[in-house]
């Protein structure tokens, strides 16, 4: 397994591409707050990616506005899972309200938002698409696994709002773009 991960680290710079905006100019600061927008399990993938990238982040799947305190970036992992909503003990309406209040709080506190969609085509559908349309306009940058953007939904929204969009072939290739997105943590 280690050899696969080393291989992916070597390959990742050549397989991702910045499609829109100027991804090079967007930089985020640590620590980040990782939360789900839809309770899909990909939030755990994001957490593993951040750990492997050596980035400081807190995972809170059901973070509220108050949890933003002490964080410099909000990571929203997009995708609705009914099983995940059940696991969190909430319904889709409650989740939408939570995410909207989080978006509002982040905007008010000028905390930049990085949106990730890591579940590919399997994590699309009516509920997920509604969540994507709600969150994306607030994002400072978007990273998406390519086959989740087959129909160009992410491309269209990002183009309309001039948001840099990065597509990666597979989740594992998101590691290097994530590293590049974050400034080095200079805290002692």
């Amino acid at each position: 397994m280690k050899k696969y991960l080393i291989l992916c680290l070597l390959l990742s710079p050549v397989v991702f591409s910045s499609l829109l905006g100027t991804a090079e100019d967007v930089r985020f600061d640590q620590p980040a707050l990782i939360t789900s927008a839809g309770q899909a399990a990909e939030v755990h993938l994001a957490n593993v990616l951040f750990k492997r990238a050596g980035l400081t982040a807190t995972l809170n799947k059901t973070a509220e506005a108050a949890d933003l305190e002490g964080h410099k970036t909000l990571i929203l992992v997009l995708g609705v899972s009914l099983k995940g909503l059940g696991a969190a003990g909430i319904d889709a309406g409650h989740e939408k309200k939570r995410v909207e209040s989080l978006l509002l709080a982040a905007d008010e506190q000028s905390i930049p938002i990085l949106c990730l969609h890591l579940g590919g085509e399997a994590r699309r559908g009516d509920l997920s698409d509604q969540m994507i349309k709600t969150c994306l306009p607030h994002a400072a940058a978007v990273l998406v696994v390519k086959d989740g953007n087959k129909d160009g939904l992410f491309t269209a929204i990002c183009r309309n709002h001039n948001i840099p969009l990065i597509e990666v072939e597979k989740t594992v290739y998101a590691l290097e773009p994530l590293k590049n997105y974050f400034r080095q943590d200079r805290r002692p």
Binding site: L45, L82, K83, G119, K170, V172
Partner: protein
């Protein structure tokens, strides 16, 4: 010849016909209660019966074989279950392939190919399922039972109208015979609950680190090509998923809802220290849209109705004329077992498990499970 003699001869012929049909049907019925042979690899350390962990099962229809492979070095402890639902053959066959090939260098591996042994002795009523499917190895055919999702009512009867499972969830009566609704089991419960209790005891007694339950489901079911994980194994599932992506095996992650009680991915994790994960592959013979349920449908996984359903966006997996054959489904299970085991060792070096002669998912995907099955009639 008078009319009376003709009638007597006709009656005799009819009686002979009925007797022969009864004899053949009885023989077929009896054969359903005989285990298909599994030929363990030379690396087998011990064959155990489940009743070791709950004596009430001894010599009964649920007393299934457990194959233990132990390495020279101490390491992690893995449990793999196939056949929780005996009409989900990819999980059963992946477990059989492991038993017939494996050699363990470090750590311990327990494999139960027929977790619900009773379920292998019958079919689901009104489904017109075949009793068997056949895989052709280089040295002959291997025939396998295609069983039922549930324990045989001959072994556990009658079903209640409603069933409250050991975890307190109210279910339909027939689910009292569903092993994957019966965890953590009941020592003095009905047969299926006692089976679940014995498996739970195995997990606790042997200090299992990673417990995997291999399943299949219909392509129109949302939790498909999926890894359903207990929250105690979220990071392991995420690490393994990324490893699988690099092998061109796409899985979706699903977290086990705490409110869905009685399932392996929930109760194993709640009632033991084991990282608990359930794997699902896509099997058209389970679906409601399928045509004739045949052995070929099980093995080849092709169905024109599903091609049409996919075109209308009704499925949760890609599906075309090539179908989703058994070899693909078994390969997915094997690859996931391999990646999860490797991930466990990466995250916890003291729980490393080194497997040799692991049945190659790549080979199975290309040439079928036949390529890794032992030849028939081996002693």
């Amino acid at each position: 010849m008078n009319r009376h003699t003709i009638l007597k001869a006709a009656n005799a012929l009819l009686l002979a016909g009925v007797l022969s049909v009864t004899w053949f049907a009885g023989r077929a019925f009896h054969r359903m209660h005989v285990n298909d042979p599994i030929y363990p690899a030379p690396g087998l350390t011990e064959k155990i019966l489940l009743s070791r962990y709950h004596s009430a099962l001894r010599s009964g229809p649920a007393d299934t074989e457990i194959y233990l492979f132990s390495g020279k070095e101490k390491g992690g402890r893995l449990l793999v279950l196939g056949g929780t639902h005996p009409n989900e053959p990819a999980g059963f066959l992946a477990a059989v392939l492991m038993v017939e090939n494996l050699q363990v260098e470090k750590g311990d591996v327990w494999i139960i190919p027929r977790a619900n042994r009773s379920g292998f002795t019958h079919n689901d009523p009104q489904e017109a399922s075949p009793q068997r499917f056949v895989l052709t190895t280089a040295k002959g055919d291997r025939s396998f039972r295609f069983g039922s999702r549930l324990t045989n009512p001959v072994h556990q009867w009658p079903d209640p109208i409603l069933h409250i499972n050991p975890a307190g969830q109210v279910l339909s009566g027939s689910d009292s015979r569903n092993l994957n609704r019966a965890y953590p089991g009941k020592k003095e419960g009905v047969l299926t609950e006692r089976t679940a209790f014995a498996i739970m005891e195995l997990i606790r007694t042997e200090g299992i680190d990673l417990a995997l339950d291999l399943h299949e489901a219909a392509p129109e079911y949302p939790v498909i090509n999926a890894m359903v994980f207990h929250e105690n194994s979220a990071e392991l599932a995420a690490v393994a998923l990324m490893d699988l992506q690099l092998q061109n095996m796409d899985f979706r992650l699903e977290e086990s809802p705490p409110s869905l009680r009685g399932l392996s991915h929930r109760e194993w994790g709640d009632h033991s220290e084991a990282a608990s994960i359930l794997l699902e592959s896509a099997n058209v013979s389970h679906g409601r849209l399928k045509g004739k349920t045949s052995a070929s449908l099980i093995v080849e996984g092709r169905d024109k109705n599903y091609v049409r359903a996919a075109a209308r966006g009704l499925l949760f997996v890609p599906f075309d004329e090539a179908g989703i054959p058994l070899k693909e489904r078994v390969a997915r299970h094997l690859a996931a077992v391999r990646s999860l085991t490797a991930g466990l060792g990466d995250m916890h070096p003291d729980r490393e498990i080194i497997l040799h002669r692991f049945p190659s998912p790549e080979l199975v995907r290309e040439k079928g499970a036949e390529a890794c099955l032992a030849p028939p009639n081996q002693r």
